[in-house]
């Protein structure tokens, strides 16, 4: 058995341990590689800051992700929440995952200083869990009260000052959907395309390839892709957080994968040369 064959048949647990120890390095000794800003992330940041936002505008932030995608989506959502609050915009939070309350709690912890200066019901509201898929998002555009008669805490929307005059797409300045799946596409089809409501996505890395064409076409005014997008947003707002911390381990894991691919293919080429 050749060395390459022996390596090909190596117990997979060896690979797990190699990666585990390699990823320990940046945690023990942070590296801090420089980070450039992708144009889609810059567009997202520009769309929620400066002249793009007027004080008092009402935005929707949709938590289309559960706990399992916190590492990829939460940092970006934290930054856009901070940015919108600092522009004196008001925010409606909602989400289609049953653990949406945990996600909201995490956001309030991560952006605690910004939430501290805001009042529930006046500056932000948490509508909570939504179900019903694309039909619910369509309905939200025309009659929010038929989807959410009450907020997450059981208060009637009519009794919440922020929601008093809000019931349809015309009352919303923009939507930021943070996704692991299709919710951004639902908003795209039911809010952005028919009503031209500004829409941006903060998605997991896997959504990059499907979302970028929509950003290039102008359907999304901006897009953050995965943890890297979150780290870019943290850099743009000037407050480094958990996505920036994760960049070192992402660098190491990505590099290890490329090294594994190269080594495996060197083995293939060596064997092929020997056979010929």
């Amino acid at each position: 058995m050749s060395i390459t064959e022996k390596m090909a048949n190596m117990d997979r647990r060896v690979f797990y341990w190699i990666l585990f120890f390699a990823m320990m390095v940046p945690f023990l000794s942070p590296i801090g590689f420089p980070l450039s800003i992708a144009p889609n992330t810059q567009d997202l940041y520009d769309g929620v800051t400066g002249d793009s936002i007027d004080a008092g505008e009402i935005w929707i932030i949709n938590f289309g992700y559960g706990v399992s995608a916190w590492s990829e989506c939460a940092p970006g959502v934290t930054v856009v929440t901070k940015a919108l609050f600092r522009e004196d915009a008001k925010i409606i939070f909602m989400g289609p995952h049953y653990d949406v309350e945990l996600t909201m709690n995490k956001l309030m912890e991560d952006a605690g200083a910004d939430f501290a200066g805001k009042e529930y019901g006046e500056d932000y509201v948490f509508l909570g869990y939504i179900t019903g898929g694309e039909a619910a998002i369509t309905q939200l555009a025309s009659d929010m009260r038929s989807v959410y008669p009450q907020d997450h805490h059981g208060t009637d929307l009519d009794d919440i000052p922020l929601m008093a005059d809000v019931n349809e797409w015309r009352d919303i300045a923009g939507v930021l959907s943070s996704d692991t799946g299709d919710w951004g596409a639902y908003f795209l089809r039911q809010w952005q395309e028919p009503h031209d409501v500004p829409l941006a996505q903060i998605g997991i890395s896997m959504l990059g390839s499907t979302g970028i064409p929509y950003w290039l076409a102008g359907n999304y005014f901006g897009m953050s892709v995965g943890s890297r997008g979150g780290a870019e947003l943290e850099k743009l707002i000037g407050e480094l957080g958990e996505a920036t911390t994760a960049m070192d381990s992402i660098s190491v894991s990505h590099l290890m994968i490329v090294i594994a691919v190269i080594m495996a293919n060197i083995g293939v080429l060596t064997d092929r040369g020997r056979e010929s």
Binding site: A8, L102, A136, P213, R228, V261
Partner: protein, 217 residues
């Protein structure tokens, strides 16, 4: 009669709802309350289906346990946690209107569910690393091209790529912003056309799977 209920009534109802939604979208987007009412029904039905799903889950796992099928121990864990979360959540809800006001419910959610959920995605990295070595082999020219493109994209996504050679970012971004776009747009358009064709076939009763779990006619 049951056959009529199973097929013709469902065909007719699906067709009616589809036509109503089409007409609303293209002609009365702002004004038609009938379409809104139907969508509200859809959301209610969707919510009911969640309850049905829970009942089916309980039924299936109870059967697994009763008949001691393979891995029935997992079913016992599912049932036990279902009961704990349901009861503690209900206790919190009945006491204050918030499920999370129950200490046990909250503790399990924060200290068991959250770490498990947060571990789910990252753990795939280990499988990918192992699979990268075992399966990503350039056995032909197509596979070689895909691997090379993949490596550039991976290195452009990670800051280390730029640190090694700035060209990784330039080439990787070309793949992301230019190279893949025609393919993804084609996928999107073909998918949309496919959905339209599927919708028409379903309306005409040609897609039995849509109605009753059967195959094509």
């Amino acid at each position: 009669m049951s056959q009529v209920l199973k097929r013709e009534v469902v065909y007719a109802f699906t067709g009616l709802v589809t036509v109503l939604m089409f007409v609303e979208y293209f002609f009365f987007a702002e004004t038609w309350s009938l379409a809104e009412t139907i969508r509200t029904w859809a959301i209610i039905v969707y919510n009911i289906s969640l309850g049905l799903g829970a009942i089916q889950l309980l039924r299936q796992h109870t059967l697994n346990l009763q008949r001691k099928r393979d891995n029935y121990g997992y079913s016992a864990v599912v049932l036990a946690f279902f009961a704990i979360m349901f009861l503690t959540g209900m206790m919190g809800y009945l006491a204050t209107g918030q499920q999370t006001d129950n200490g046990i419910y909250n503790w399990l959610f924060v200290n068991v569910y959250t770490p498990l959920g947060a571990t789910l995605y990252p753990i795939t990295g280990f499988y990918i690393f192992s699979a990268a070595y075992r399966a990503f082999r350039a056995r032909n020219i197509d596979a070689a091209l895909m691997l090379i493109a993949g490596c550039f994209v991976i290195l452009s996504n990670a800051p280390v790529g730029e640190a090694i050679w700035p060209g990784f970012a330039t080439i990787g971004e070309w793949f992301k912003f230019t190279g893949q776009i025609p393919g993804m747009r084609t996928f999107a358009m073909v998918g949309a056309l496919g959905m339209i064709a599927y919708g028409f076939r379903a309306l005409l009763g040609k897609e039995r799977g849509f109605y009753a779990g059967g195959g094509d006619e």
